[in-house]
Amino acid sequence: MTTAHWSFEATAEAPGRARRAIGEFAAAAGATARALDSIALCVSEAMTNGVVHAYRNDDRPASLEMAAEHDGESLWVRIRDHGHGLVPRLDSPGLGLGLPLISQISASSEILSPQHGGTEIAMRFVLHEQEEAV
């Protein structure tokens, strides 16, 4: 099992930085182009969720943690914030599509509320994912 961990400042640039980091990790693990696309989209949605929802009432510097591991067949990614949890907001920059997209694109996913607060989005991907036959 190969593992890695990253920490990002919770800014608008965080999703892009996380995509590049997980892309390198997944490519080194042998992910297909299709799997790389899936991982990039889901990581972007999860990180955006953290940037938008986690710390909006705080002035303090905030971080988003990303951890990944793979066994050569599957790749697991966990993205965690330390904010106030998932709450609706009317001025959301998305259409509420982030979590449904993660559910559709990843092999499996779950949203956790860790004991010490915040929100964790856990996702699994198939490294050898192929495009669906038409």
């Binding site: 999703p15 990039a40 989209l41 955006t48 998305g94 259409l95 599509l97 997209l101």
Partner: protein
């Protein structure tokens, strides 16, 4: 309107302002070219949906030039691709 690079929360604000500014002009039609995008997430979906709403309200014919696989996939999975069936969708060369 041509989009390049990666469309996410870092670029959504600028792109939306540019699109809304274009749609405020006296246009008959506007083409949004997605073929230069290497990546797009749901912030891009919102950008297109809002642009479509504004275009419809102002009588502007909105067309899309399709993007690559990552862009098409997010539009399809989100169900938004169907919203654009009523506009003139062109295929890029």
């Amino acid at each position: 309107m041509e989009l390049h690079g990666e469309f996410d929360i870092a670029s959504a604000g600028d792109a939306s302002r540019a699109l809304q500014e274009l749609l405020s002009r006296d246009l008959d039609a506007l083409i949004i070219d997605l073929s230069g995008l290497a990546f797009m997430d749901s912030t891009g979906v919102k950008f297109l949906v809002e642009g479509r709403e504004t275009a419809l309200a102002r009588g502007v014919k909105l067309s899309l030039v399709h993007g690559g696989d990552p862009v098409e996939r997010v539009l399809t999975v989100s169900g938004v691709a169907a919203l654009f069936e009523d506009v003139d969708i062109r295929r890029s060369e």
